[in-house]
């Protein structure tokens, strides 16, 4: 899914959410013993990830330490690249800007998606799965094409501006210039792209909420908003956190959307990494440092919040 990293999680989560699966059958234990066949099953997948996932990351680490370099000749291991990252504020500044943009996107999207998920899960509407499908279907279409749609809409000769000229609301010599190629455009498009997806984990957590808890709260004299603040919201927090992270994590390293609609003011950390490996002034060492730094941050976030990311079904057992 292009830069739509993680979108597939959306799909499987969508399938799970919509499937309304019965609880897993109780597992027998007889086949669950240590077994010589296990290496045969795991060998191929682990080898694949080892060679094409872990080793490549190791190579990036090598470049970041000058153990590998595009310049010929022997090299001493150095931390110069990492020192540069810390001392030259440019890259960290850009990283911070990307973090802020991602926080904004994630927050906007969660705040918008929560009431929608609440409506679907708790209003008692009979068509909740149909409505859920309507909500997430756009997420399952091409990421680049949804980006294209916004390019067409926001351009200086685009749908919004030409509509304003046409209706005389704005003079043709003075189009709204900040629509496209701006930080605003990046945030708008990313929020548009992620909104349907983020409703899913929130919906799942609200769906599993036991309504009797709300009835109990009501019987004990709580008003609806009190029950919401003290029962519903805390119980749906895992879904909210999961949704937030599912958006935040891929957005920090995003480069496709800013490169198409961001211009200079929407330039993000991911674009910097790409450019350092580009054809202009390649600097693989700095690029490798930036890439690895991003990876470390994302890995740390994932580790800290792993229990919210709903992979438990796989890791348990």
């Amino acid at each position: 899914m292009g830069g739509g990293e993680g979108s597939l999680t959306a799909r499987s989560a969508a399938a799970d959410a919509a499937a309304d699966l019965p609880p897993p059958a109780r597992r027998g234990r007889r086949l669950l013993h240590a077994d010589p066949a296990t290496p045969a099953l795991l060998g191929l997948p682990l080898a694949w990830l080892g060679v094409f996932f872990l080793v490549p990351i190791g190579i990036v680490a090598g470049y970041s330490l000058d153990a590998l370099s595009i310049e010929p000749g022997p090299h001493a291991l150095t931390l110069a690249g990492w020192r540069e990252l810390v001392h030259e504020g440019v890259y960290l500044g850009l990283f911070w800007k990307s973090v802020q943009m991602s926080l904004l996107v994630s927050a906007v999207v969660v705040v918008l998606a929560y009431p929608l998920a609440y409506y679907l899960a708790l209003s008692g509407t009979k068509r909740k799965y149909v409505l859920l499908l309507i909500l997430i279907a756009p997420f399952l279409t091409s990421y680049l094409l949804r980006l294209l749609a916004w390019k067409v809409i926001l351009g200086s000769q685009g749908v919004v501006n030409s509509f304003l000229f046409w209706t005389g609301l704005r003079d043709a010599d003075h189009p709204l210039g900040q629509l496209l190629y701006s930080r605003f455009a990046v945030v708008l498009v990313l929020a548009y792209v992620w909104l349907p997806f983020v409703a899913l984990p929130i919906f799942v957590s609200l769906e599993s909420l036991d309504r009797r808890l709300l009835e109990a709260a009501s019987d004990l004299g709580a008003r609806r908003w009190q029950a919401f603040l003290q029962v519903t919201l805390p119980l749906s927090a895992p879904g909210v956190v999961a949704g937030f992270l599912f958006v935040f994590i891929p957005t920090v390293g995003e480069f496709v959307t800013p490169s198409l609609v961001g211009g200079t003011s929407g330039y993000m950390y991911g674009n910097q990494i790409v450019d350092l490996f580009g054809s202009g002034f390649p600097d693989w060492r700095t690029g490798a440092v930036l890439a690895l730094f991003l990876l470390v941050v994302v890995a740390a976030l994932t580790a800290v919040f792993a229990r919210f990311l709903q992979f438990r079904q796989v890791t348990a057992g």
């Binding site: 990036v60 918008l112 609806r224 992979f311």
Partner: protein, 268 residues
């Protein structure tokens, strides 16, 4: 009294839902409208109806090549991901072994790696081992990306299957392989199909990683990205977009309806 929503609250949320759905679909509808607009520029006022843009893209050899390349990449990578994912899921669900949580963390880690980092890692890797970039390098990357998705689909399905069925087969003298072929495989077939479709669509739409390891033969997203940078090709790309989006929406809705029908039949 409804404990979750007041009548007014319900109306408010329904209105919000409708607004958001309009917001989500409006850009797609706008593309649809402008794909028939008889003008180089997608802007108001609409200047007339035409099917030229559709005709143009049907006769665009570059687009045809890109679609073909993407079809090859998607087919190869999704078969690869499903095979690896099935093996891994069987081990995760049916076997006990030391370090299982570390193994499953590794298997799922491609879900969260920033694609820009993975793309560059693969690029440097192929550079280091001296492999020319091409169709197969994209396939390799897409298998890594799709693998965790296939596992997320297959593991819950495997967990639902009663182990005693497999035990019965083995008690009756079936070998492991025979048990898998005659008992497990038919039972997880729907999940395998789902995993395959997910891997297929992921690969078909994947731009970020492919942009680093693609060779001379552009995949469809690579072609699209290129075309997006040339305003003169915009109308044609809009027509392509409409066709692709309608096709994928149809597949999504169709798959969902199919799944429901199958489920209802199973339940009956």
């Amino acid at each position: 009294m409804d404990v979750a929503l007041s009548a007014a609250g319900r109306r408010l949320l329904r209105a919000l839902f409708v607004l958001v759905v309009l917001f989500l679909y409006a850009p797609i509808l706008i593309l649809l409208v402008f794909s028939f607009n008889d003008s180089q520029l997608p802007s108001f006022p609409l200047s007339g109806l035409t099917l030229d843009w559709y005709a143009e893209f049907f006769h665009d050899p570059e687009l045809g090549d890109a679609l073909e390349t993407s079809a090859i990449v998607a087919a190869l990578s999704s078969v690869g991901a499903v095979v690896l994912g099935t093996l891994a899921s069987l081990a995760l669900v049916r076997r006990r072994f030391v370090g299982k949580s570390a193994v499953s963390a590794l298997l799922l880690s491609p879900l969260v790696i920033p694609y820009v980092v993975f793309g560059i890692s693969l690029l440097l890797f192929f550079h280091a081992v001296g492999v020319e970039r091409g169709v197969l390098t994209v396939v390799v990357g897409h298998i890594v990306i799709s693998l965790p998705y296939t596992i997320l689909v297959l593991v819950p399905r495997l967990e639902q299957i009663d182990v005693s069925l497999e035990e019965a087969a083995q008690d009756l003298g079936a070998s492991r392989l025979r048990t898998f072929r005659s008992v497990t495989l038919p039972l997880i077939a729907p999940a395998i199909v789902a995993a395959f479709l997910i891997a297929l669509t992921t690969s078909f739409d994947e731009y970020a990683v492919a942009s680093f390891v693609v060779g001379d033969r552009a995949t469809f997203p690579i072609y699209l990205y290129g075309a997006l940078r040339f305003p003169s090709r915009l109308p044609e790309v809009i027509a392509v977009a409409v066709v692709v989006m309608l096709a994928s929406l149809t597949v999504v809705v169709g798959a969902e309806i199919g799944r429901r029908v199958a489920e209802r039949r199973l339940a009956a």
